[in-house]
């Protein structure tokens, strides 16, 4: 399973790689990283239908996570990739907006990795 993680914080890559070291080692999950909405779109264009799950932060400079979500849901109809949005705690407005735009699931910051692993298991 291939997961694209989108966040403007570069350390998110190290964190994911450490948290999912076992999964990466036994190749049950493969990660790709993008550090802005624009990067993410460029990756998706170059690797069509590879990423099954897109995990995106909302609050990013330039193209926001919500705009990215809108683009993804317009561009990839079949099979639709699962898009999980990461929202700041208590941010109802973004949550509702993301829901309208067709987000499949939500995670709140700080990310609970055990919960995320559970969700990935179900998807896998």
């Amino acid at each position: 399973m291939k997961v694209l993680v989108v966040d403007d914080e570069k350390d998110i890559q190290t964190l994911f790689e450490q948290r999912f070291r076992k999964e990466i080692r036994d190749h049950s999950i493969e990660f790709a990283f993008a550090f802005s909405g624009e990067d993410a779109l460029a990756y998706l264009n170059g690797h069509e239908h590879e990423a099954v799950l897109i995990l995106s932060d909302i609050n990013m400079p330039g193209m926001s996570g919500l705009e990215l979500l809108g683009h993804i849901k317009q561009m990839y109809l079949k099979p639709p990739p699962v898009v999980m949005m990461i929202t700041a705690y208590g941010d109802a407005e973004n949550f509702n907006m993301a829901k309208q735009l067709g987000a499949d699931d939500f995670l709140t910051k700080p990310v609970d990795f055990n919960l995320l692993k559970e969700k990935l298991k179900i998807l896998g």
């Binding site: 948290r19 609050n59 400079p61 330039g62 193209m63 941010d91 407005e93 700080p110 990310v111 990795f113």
Partner: protein
């Protein structure tokens, strides 16, 4: 000759009229009427009995002399002295004449009669002359007296006016003093209000920052928590690896732990710097100039302002561009004050690009300019000669020409009521010019509300480099 009697009658009447004017007639009236009676009696006698004519003349002369004596010696009649001088010579001549007639022989008198007649004529001329002169003098005196009276009246009026004026002046003075005190009071109140406003402007900009600060702190804190959790996990794995004796794995895990600890430390410091910056921002000014990395300061406030605005308006987004001249290094500024200026310029820039991005114009029309519009805020620094330029550029709607002159005035704001204090730019201007001896300039191109057009403003802080 009957002139003596007529003279006596005239003088008595004259005296009476004088006394009447003077107001002391009742005291003298009886005596004067008696004298008048005598004079008339003598006149009648001299007419009825021609032989007693000279005796009557003598008696009339005596009466005249007596009156003159009384008039001369009495204080009340002092002003009448000229009259006495006028009449006296004639009376004396008349007395001498009458005595001669009565005492001397007819021949002797006949010889001298001519002289007496001549003398009498002279004394009459004297009398008339004196009378004219006195009359004229009296007139002059009278006019003087009237003038003096006028003056007196005028003086009284002037005095009354003067005292009235003095009262008015006193009233005005007390009113003015009261006003002065009121104004002083108002001025004091204004000063304290100004101080409060400046403080509230600082607090307002801190408020704008709060959400940005929360976001900026939340991210490093999440990393700190996440990496420390990872390390706990890794420690468990390391223990297992040691039990297995797999030293390669132990080493690999140890390296990861070290790297993670560095990350934890890095993000901890990041949060620390943000909190310090926030404290510095809210601190009242009076700070000292110290070597400051202007690029770092501008970058920090750019991010804080961006996240602050985003926290308020979730739909807001903008492209941030930076173009820093790394050769600047550190320059001498009061960091919290200069930070406040940069923050103010950046928040203004974000505000205007957000306005332009809105689908409707403020008057409710479809905003054509918002189509394909990419809100962009650029912060750049540059070193030129002995000056540092810090520029904040937006591609918003620009500043209308009619408000250009006002933008640095206190309390001028284009934001809706309650959203801006109107003190941001005026405070910034003071900080740059008075606090740092620099200049704050603006260049703008106003939008015509069309799609794809170029418009926007650029604020430039120009600071001298101190040796």
């Amino acid at each position: 000759m009957v002139l003596e009697f007529i003279l006596a009658i005239i003088i008595i009447r004259y005296l009476r009229s004088y006394l009447q004017k003077d107001g002391s007639l009742p005291k003298w009236d009886r005596k004067l009427i008696i004298a008048l009676g005598i004079a008339i009696g003598l006149l009648v006698m001299s007419i009825l009995i021609p032989r007693s004519k000279h005796i009557a003349i003598l008696l009339a002369d005596a009466l005249l002399l007596y009156i003159m004596y009384v008039a001369y010696t009495t204080k009340e009649f002092q002003p009448l002295k000229p009259t006495i001088y006028a009449v006296l010579p004639y009376t004396i001549v008349s007395v001498v004449d009458a005595l001669f007639v009565t005492i001397s022989t007819k021949d002797f008198y006949g010889e001298w009669r001519g002289y007496f007649e001549t003398a009498k004529v002279f004394t009459v001329i004297w009398m008339l002359a004196m009378w004219f002169i006195t009359k004229r003098q009296r007139k002059a005196i009278e006019t003087e007296r009237i003038k003096a009276l006028e003056k007196e009246k005028q003086y009284v009026i002037t005095e009354a006016l003067k005292s009235e004026l003095e009262i008015q002046v006193a009233e005005r003075t007390s009113a003015l003093t009261l006003q002065k005190e009121e104004l002083q009071h108002a001025l004091d109140e204004l000063k304290s209000t100004q101080a409060q406003l400046i403080q509230s402007e600082k607090m307002a900009s801190l408020g704008e920052l709060t959400a940005g600060i929360a976001h900026e702190i939340q991210n490093p804190l999440n990393f700190v928590n996440n990496f420390s959790e990872v390390n706990t996990e890794l420690m468990g794995e390391m223990k297992a690896a040691i039990e297995k004796g797999d030293m390669d794995e132990v080493n690999a895990i140890a390296n990861d732990i070290i790297a993670n600890e560095q990350k934890i430390n890095h993000h901890g410091k990041r949060a620390d710097a943000i909190v310090k910056g926030m404290l510095q921002h809210s601190r009242s000014s009076g700070g000292q100039k110290e070597p400051t990395d202007i690029n770092a300061l501008a970058d920090e406030y750019l991010r804080l302002a961006y996240h602050g605005l985003r926290a308020k308006d979730k739909s807001f987004n903008a492209t941030m561009k930076t173009d820093f001249d790394e050769s600047i290094g550190s320059i001498q500024v009061i960091p919290q004050d200069m930070g406040r200026v940069i923050l103010n310029l950046i928040t203004n820039a974000f505000y205007v690009v957000a306005e332009k991005k809105k689908p409707l114009t403020p008057d409710g029309k479809i905003n054509l300019a918002s189509k394909d519009y990419v809100p962009t805020v650029t912060v750049s620094t540059k070193k030129t000669g002995n000056k540092i330029l810090i520029s904040v550029k937006d591609n918003g709607n620009g500043i209308p020409a009619q408000v250009m002159d006002k933008i640095f005035q206190p309390f001028f704001t284009t934001k809706p009521t309650g959203q801006g204090t109107g003190l941001g730019l005026s405070m910034s201007y003071d900080i740059v010019t008075k606090g740092h001896g620099g200049e704050l300039k603006v260049q703008t191109k106003e939008s015509k509300g069309l799609p794809g057009e170029e418009s926007g403003s650029e604020f430039t802080i120009q600071l001298p480099i101190q040796p």
